[in-house]
């Protein structure tokens, strides 16, 4: 099973080799620092930092562009609305509508922040295997029940998705056409069947886990915390990103 996001986690770059715990803390700090920016003068700096980190990660550009496509729709909607609704300084007229300067600048700020934060997230989760990232989150204090739920959901997401595809194919083969509203009841039954199957499967999974010692006293759950070993270079990387984040935050506060 391979999550599409970590398909390049095998590459060998400093970002791939970085201790995932430090990487998680460093990138999340930088992501929140980017989110803090409201000054347009800082946007080139943000773009430069994102570009450099993406280049260092050696992830293909097509990988980033493919992921920008989906959420881009939200930006498209903002792009249609903000320049017309936000602000009072008219730049030019488009028929009966007037394009406002403040709206265009708001749109620029939101778009650049969005793309830079998205790039950071892709680097963060694209340069380590997903399971390693979850273990790192667990090591950083994520409650065990949430970590377990993430791993289980990840494990069965593909199975259940395949179940749905199989059932949809079977429905089509029997002449089902899903484009009519009256099919709502059939689709609700499809959803209900997926839930029932998953519920029954979870019962079998739980019994199998119990047989293997899940939930028993003395169960080995602490080993994961010692899995990571940090070196001075890991700390150096963290300090570097923290400095970048502090720089951004400082600039915002000064302004």
């Amino acid at each position: 099973m391979k999550l599409q996001l970590d398909r390049y986690a095998y590459l060998e770059t400093p970002l791939h080799a970085w201790d995932p715990r430090y990487k998680l803390v460093g990138f999340m700090t930088l992501i929140f620092a980017f989110s803090f920016v409201e000054n347009l003068q800082l946007l080139p700096f943000m773009v430069a930092v994102s570009g450099i980190l993406y280049a260092v990660s050696h992830l293909p550009l097509s990988f980033l562009l493919a992921r920008l496509r989906l959420p881009g729709f939200f930006l498209l909607m903002m792009g249609v609305l903000l320049p017309f609704l936000s602000g009072s300084t008219v730049l030019f007229h488009l028929g009966p509508l007037s394009v406002k300067q403040e709206g265009c600048l708001d749109l620029l700020l939101i778009s650049v922040k969005f793309v830079c934060i998205l790039t950071m997230g892709i680097i963060l989760f694209g340069t380590s295997p997903f399971l390693t990232n979850v273990k790192a989150m667990r090591a950083l204090g994520l409650p065990s029940i949430l970590a377990d739920m993430i791993l289980f959901t990840y494990r069965y997401l593909y199975d259940i998705n395949d179940n749905l595809r199989t059932m949809q194919t079977a429905m089509r083969l029997r002449g089902f056409q899903g484009h009519k509203l009256k099919n709502l009841f059939t689709l609700a039954s499809l959803a209900g069947t997926i839930l029932v199957r998953s519920y029954e499967q979870s019962d079998r999974v739980y019994r199998a886990m119990t047989l293997r010692g899940y939930g028993q006293a003395g169960e080995n759950r602490g080993g994961q915390d010692n899995e990571f070993k940090a070196y001075s270079r890991d700390l150096f990387g963290l300090v570097l990103l923290m400095v970048a984040a502090a720089f951004v935050a400082g600039q915002v506060l000064i302004h």
């Binding site: 992921r67 700020l109 778009s111 949430l146 993430i150 509203l181 839930l195």
Partner: protein, 228 residues
């Protein structure tokens, strides 16, 4: 076979309820993490008081995955189709596991499909998850009036599904319109919230009907799934 090719390009029913990165101010994002943290703590505390809290974990995880997959089913509203959010149904089925399930579902959507965002994860989880918990309480009311009755199950399913989405929609639109760094005047903000909420009324009804039908189906086929 990857999941990416099945992911919706644009989930109509929840299009504005998955707020992306870069749109909200950091203070709002951090506030969202605080409220999501509090709701998670509350849910985990309730779960830990259950007779065997670990027994529910695989069940909740598989159903979380199932809900994610089910939310990708295209529901026809001719001439287009929509994807439902199902937070009301999730609350009715998962009970106190609903909030962690939504948090995890949103986390997956953010990192796999860039739908929502990492900075807005807390806000999105609060906006969608808290109404799911409320939907759970609404749906639980049917126990007082007779949970064997299918009509009542359908009615409370409708209220949980439609109400869950309605609460999420109002909360998301309010946050979006009032905190987006834009130069809108108060009247424009108010008009936007009303317009966006009104535009979602058909989807709320659809979500309510869908939840009601699924709830009745589950009562007929696997009633223990509705025990929360």
């Amino acid at each position: 076979m990857g999941i990416d090719r099945y992911s919706p390009v644009f989930q109509e029913g929840e299009k504005l309820m998955h707020i992306p990165d870069g749109v909200l101010p950091t203070t709002v994002c951090l506030g969202g993490y605080i409220t999501a943290g509090a709701a998670t703590w509350f849910s985990l505390r309730k779960i830990s008081r259950q007779e065997n809290p670990r027994e529910g974990m695989p069940k909740a995880s598989l159903l979380t995955a199932a809900f994610l997959v089910v939310s990708w089913i295209h529901i026809p509203i001719p001439p287009a189709s929509v994807h439902l959010m199902l937070n009301g149904l999730l609350g009715a089925v998962l009970g106190y596991y609903a909030f962690p399930a939504i948090l995890i579902g949103l986390f997956f959507q953010a990192i796999m499909f860039q739908h929502g965002g990492l900075t807005t994860l807390g806000v999105n989880a609060t906006v969608i998850g808290v109404p799911a918990l409320l939907a759970y309480y609404i749906f639980r009311l049917r126990n007082m009036v007779g949970k064997e009755n299918r009509v009542l199950t359908g009615l409370f399913g409708f209220l949980a599904g439609g109400g869950g989405l309605a609460l999420s929609a109002v909360a998301a639109f309010f946050i979006l319109v009032t905190t987006i760094p834009a130069h809108l005047n108060v009247e424009a903000e108010r008009a936007s919230i009303y317009a966006l909420t009104l535009a979602h009324i058909p989807v709320m009804i659809l979500e309510g009907v869908f939840t009601a039908v699924v709830a009745v189906f589950l009562q007929r086929v696997k009633p223990e799934l509705l025990e929360g």
